[in-house]
Symmetry: C2
Subunit: 367 residues, 2 copies
């Protein structure tokens, strides 16, 4: 609705900086600096500008306007890492949808740091956004006070990518568990039974049991835990015993994935297949294969998250899970904008389907 947007900005009837400057008998830049509170302005000129602004009623500014209309036409988005193409795609979906409905979008990236996330939420409250979409690093009840603070101020919040069980909020996620299960089933159908999982929870040491592993996962990121559960589901269905040595632990970085896949390749009963839950896990695994003089799919079968232009041009091209990134953003923005339009939040988890794109990185296990 471009008309609505235009009106939101036009600030009709409000004096402009130029008018204040003319009234004060100063240059436009001086008036701008004084009213913006930036840069140096001499006390005398400053006083003249402020007097002129008061006379003309200049302080009927964006804040005052939003206090009367209740809408600033801005959405705030907090993502874990804008450098991850996944989140970049989600943000694009949010921007496209909100723009079509007359809203601007501002984005903050927390780099998976909860302190940064709290700071980012405070910035969005300060900047008076109308609503917030967040991919939160929060895992449990003790970590969600900042989200509750935004809601307390009447700012609706929609979760994207990551559900938080402690919060009863609208959330848009993908079918992580089913997607992982389908990928691992595909590997099992090709005859593989020694299937590495990269990456698991960032525990300092490998959990000795399945129960410890799941406990560790539940203390960490929701998406990662769901993908791990899908891996275990597929093993269970095929009655393949769980082997903790086939799950990567430690920091979730490419280098660690390379080390851990190298370790799994050196086991007496080595892995013959890999399921990688992130782009950097895929590239890290490919480095380990090359260093070991092995190639895919001949020596090791491989399926990864997330699809990209690169995965398609690899030789051979990789079988990958494609997440509906744009749709995730669209849906989250729609839910938020509907709430702003007066719809009652449904407080439900909306799950979108991912899709496995079968290319050429899975071959039958040689018998």
């Amino acid at each position: 609705m471009p008309a609505e947007r235009g009106q939101g900005r036009a600030e009709r009837g409000r004096p402009t900086i130029s008018e204040v400057a003319a009234e004060a008998g100063v240059g436009r830049a001086t008036a701008g600096r004084t009213l913006g509170g930036y840069g140096y302005v001499s006390p005398e000129l400053r006083e003249r500008v402020l007097a002129a602004a008061e006379k003309l009623g200049y302080r009927a500014n964006a804040l005052a306007r939003s206090m009367s209309t209740g809408v600033t036409h801005t959405l705030g988005v907090i993502v874990a890492d804008i450098g991850n193409p996944f989140f970049a795609g989600v943000v694009r979906g949010i921007c496209d949808t909100s723009r079509a409905r007359g809203f601007d979008t501002i984005v903050l990236s927390t780099y998976e740091n909860l302190e940064e996330e709290i700071a980012a939420t405070n910035v969005l409250i300060d900047k008076r956004v109308d609503g917030v979409i967040i991919a939160s690093a929060a895992v449990d009840k003790r970590e969600v006070a900042h989200i509750e603070a935004a809601m307390d101020r009447g700012i609706p919040v929609v979760l994207v990518d990551r559900a938080i069980s402690a919060l009863d909020l609208d959330a848009v996620v993908i079918d992580n568990r089913d997607a992982a299960r389908e990928a691992v089933e595909t590997l099992i159908e090709a005859g593989h039974r020694r299937i590495g999982f990269v990456w698991g929870p960032p525990a300092p040491q490998a959990p000795a049991t399945r129960r410890e592993l799941l406990a560790e996962a539940s203390r960490n990121l929701w998406t990662d835990g769901e993908r791990l559960r899908g891996y275990l589901d597929a093993l269970d269905d095929a009655r393949i015993p769980f082997d903790p040595e086939l799950v990567m632990v430690g920091p979730k970085v490419e280098e660690r994935a390379t080390q851990e896949v190298a370790r799994m390749l050196a086991l007496p009963d080595r892995i013959t297949a890999l399921f990688c839950t992130e782009t950097d896990a895929v590239t890290g695994a490919l480095r380990a294969l090359r260093a070991a003089g092995l190639s895919y799919p001949r020596d090791v079968a491989l399926i990864g998250f997330d699809d990209s232009a690169w995965a398609a041009v690899m030789e051979p091209p990789l079988t990958m899970i494609e997440q509906p990134v744009h749709q995730l953003g669209e849906k989250a923005a729609q839910m938020l904008l509907d709430t702003l339009d007066g719809a009652e939040p449904r407080r439900e988890m909306h799950t979108l389907r991912s899709r496995m794109i079968r290319r050429s990185s899975v071959a039958p296990l040689p018998t």
Copy 2:
């Protein structure tokens, strides 16, 4: 300076929403909704909250605070496409640097659309950021009024990645022309003379002459034009005549790169090498090679912008130009924060060096 940041947020001495709620005898959520201007509040309760807020001086809020201190501790960043890993890296550099100096960073993505860029600039002015870093889609004098408007309001602006000759501003860029020249020289040294350039300016039709091509480039993105000039420099130095058939024109998308490389491969005197100026140009070119049954470096040598984890795990790995993305962001943030600290803007273009990472996608031309 975490202390400074803490103080910026603590808002000491200001009444909290809870205090206003207590004074008004309403719930905290009601007070929050009223003062935030969101959600439904009955007229009677609304009046009580506003009276309590006035009594306690609640409206000494973030805006009023910034008008007295002159600093909101927020930087605004406008990038052309946050989905491009290049810009994601630049934003990371900006965030890391500004965070270390007690500033938060909010990001807006314009998807290369000038109207969106103007809207984004207005949002940042409305949101009262202290300074702006922008990778602008503006090319000439008629397109920079929004940037001048921010400066008029005393908001310092630093350009990143893209210089704008019409504006005398601090800018941080890379050595695009030298980087392109070095890449093309590397191909020429390996014996290649039929070198495709992907991508050129988005002209609807192929310019017939070098002059027309350069005129077209000057009407488009600065970085693209610089890379084209570097390509031409290298050809000139080696006395290789310019052939307009070897420059891609048209929309800058992967599919078009694939079509155009296919065309260059089908020429009677076909290309034996490719220089690709973007990630999507690289993957598009690789698709064309595969479709033609050709492989690199045997049939076609290839060098591309920008390096990534994927380029390193390709088989064979690709020779790529690595841009100092984090440093670009760091330097831009430093220049902006120094200006906010009172330093005089130097109004200079600061050029960072890129680096060609030689891997295995260039082989000598068979004689």
